[in-house]
Assembly symmetry: C2
Homo-oligomer: 406 residues x 2
């Protein structure tokens, strides 16, 4: 193993910057297997310099390019202010340049940028690269990021998700995360000794016939260290960020996306002031629907324990139903008697919550599948968002949700 | 079926009074199968009359007997003030008189009264009565209430537990609960047509050789409606109190007891101000240890889904790690830099938390079994209670807890 892995980060929001910090800390610590510098693709923009003496001494007080600010001050002054980033985390405004030669790509993009970014990467990346992606369900299509990346770039992609509120991870408060990774062996030898492409099933049991059922993956040269769970723990694990690697890529991705629907539901209950028992009941039924959705969508590959026992499931649900934007926005909407859409406009400057787009995508999917009646809570959240029902319907819904067993 | 079930409640604290309210509402609603009056055994004491005009008009302003106050005002003025109780819930200071002729006994006693109360009931109850008990682990012996009742009274006993903070249930805020009941058929006919006692395994795989492995149960006369899950739903379910009946009696009881250890752990984290991610990680590991403890203790009868999917498991853990006395006391202890024992003295007037006695009982049990290393979180909580460690040990513990898989 003579070659080192080159690790890059695509996306530089608050979570992208946080995970970039972790990666750069680890590539420095394990510089025997990783190149020390971690490039981070930054969507270039002009940013105001915060009113901070040290920053203004370094940057002046006129707006500057975000990459310049990051590479000068080693802070993401716009999206993760106040957190010192390692100086081997290097901001790069050029996407193609960032991914070139990288063997491990770590994605953290909001869904509106996903497709376009993948188009721009295509052809500029190593054909045998491996990816790990943050999670979301892209609006309308109900497609996991990991699937999208595999299909568009032809490279294997795992998922990372967990009870990981970014600001707390950035402050190095202790937490856990889950990585779903079930990648093919690095280099597969035919019985005759020749190498060939690894074949991997991308989506074992998806309903849509248009999806490819297999993807030919390029083998990674054996000169690189194996990308396996031990290597992923070295790359992502920190004393304050405990990593569990599981094989259930879809479960990890789904957990991270669906928990936002449950967070909205819990926020509605909190907004009504109905107390901890009711909130706990809604969360419990939410977890059952997450399990049910996973089994419906990926019957062959999803492991229900990802939802009930891993950080990407239960722990993330717990954290997201106590804090976070989805929970608080839903709570404020009910308290103020307005829609969540109005709260997005009023309190989030028009930024969209993950929970609202996920709820709508999941509803459309379930409707097409004729499965709405098995997901009373998900449907209830949709109905509240669309003003098709009121909170008064919750008791009936809970009785219904409590009785669905299939 | 010509005879009606006579339902009684043993214990009249805030939860006993709350469940008594529910039972009396239901016996009135289903007076075809239950006698309408529900007797509640009340440990008699003199109570001050609250400073409330209506109450003082009825009771005067001198101390009165608690049973007199309850039967006059239909309020438990001491333990559940402000909640109107149905007038067919009748307080009775005489234990033997309360249980006489009852076919369904509902227990809600703190553990220090349990053994003595059972001694006093013995011989005064119907031999074919059935019981449902609230949950706790009696100190030192690590024995479930349901077991204790079965052994001492020779009657079948199920468990009831869930995300049921008493004040919220009493206020009729929506919630769920879980009843564990796997009782024998009401009357078992031999092939020759004769009746015989039902045999039931009390504790299928308990370690202690001194425990009886089978208990002869008296058949309930066929003149009574069957005590089955449908009947239990009628007796315990309300529009605001949704009941799930499962067969896993031990899991329901254990969930209700062990969640208090997790609540202490979550309180310690909150007291340190470590945020939602850390708290969620601790809760996740706590649930895994609950599952592990159940499988160790009742390998044949516990169903891990009780912990991961039922109200008596996950939902109760969620509610108890957000609110409740164990959580808050642990939080205050860490904030103030004192022991939980000191908080009990200072803030609870010397009342003991369920969590502290459960933690100690579980620790002693695990130590005897040589299983401490599989329960790093439970041991950590014990060590904090006993001042054998500090919160600084949490990161290491979490890494350890995260890696235990067996």
């Amino acid at each position: 193993m003579t070659q080192k892995h080159k690790v890059v980060v695509i996306g530089s929001g608050n979570w992208g910057s946080t995970i970039g910090k972790i990666l750069a800390e680890n590539t420095r610590e394990h510089s025997d297997i990783f190149e020390e510098d971690v490039s981070m693709w930054v969507f270039e923009e002009d940013v105001d310099v915060p009113d901070d003496r040290t920053l203004r001494e370094q940057l002046g007080d006129k707006p500057v390019k975000l990459t310049h600010a990051m590479n000068t001050t080693h802070q993401n002054v716009k999206y993760l202010p106040g957190i010192k980033l390692p100086d081997n985390l290097v901001a790069n405004p050029n996407l193609q340049d960032t991914v070139r030669g990288a063997t491990i790509l770590v994605f953290n993009l909001p869904h509106q940028f996903m497709s376009k970014t993948l188009e721009q990467i295509k052809g500029n990346h190593l054909p045998y690269a491996r990816a790990i992606s943050g999670v979301d369900i892209s609006g309308g299509t109900v497609k996991l990021y990991s699937e999208l990346i595999m299909e568009k770039l032809g490279i294997y992609c795992g998922s990372l998700s967990g009870a990981n509120i970014a600001s707390e991870v950035a402050a190095e408060n202790l937490c856990e995360t889950t990585i779903g990774y079930d990648g093919p062996p690095m280099d597969y030898k035919q019985p005759d000794g020749s190498s060939r492409d690894n074949l991997i099933k991308v989506d074992k049991q998806r309903q849509s016939k248009s999806n490819p059922s297999q993807l030919a993956l390029h083998p990674v040269p054996q000169t690189y260290p194996h990308v396996d769970s031990a290597l992923l723990e070295k790359l992502f694990g920190r004393p304050y960020f405990i990593v569990q690697v599981v094989r259930d890529v879809s479960g990890v991705a789904l957990g991270g996306a669906l928990k936002n629907i449950v967070a909205l539901a819990a926020g509605f209950v909190a907004g009504k002031g109905w107390g901890e028992n009711t909130k706990a009941a809604v969360i419990r039924i939410g977890i059952l629907e997450m399990v049910r959705f996973g089994c419906l969508w990926f019957p062959q590959s999803v492991d229900e324990r990802t939802f009930t026992k891993e950080s990407a499931g239960i722990a993330d649900v717990i954290a997201s139903t106590s804090a976070g934007r989805n929970f608080h926005s839903a709570c404020h909407a009910v308290e103020q008697g307005v829609t969540v859409d109005e709260i997005e406009k009023k309190e989030l400057g028009g930024q969209k919550l993950q929970g609202t787009s996920t709820t709508r995508a999941v509803f459309e999917f379930l409707k097409k599948q004729g499965q709405l009646e098995k997901f009373p809570l998900f449907v209830f959240v949709y109905d509240i968002l669309e003003e098709r029902t009121t909170m008064d319907a919750l008791p009936d819904l809970l009785i219904k949700g409590s009785k669905v067993t299939a």
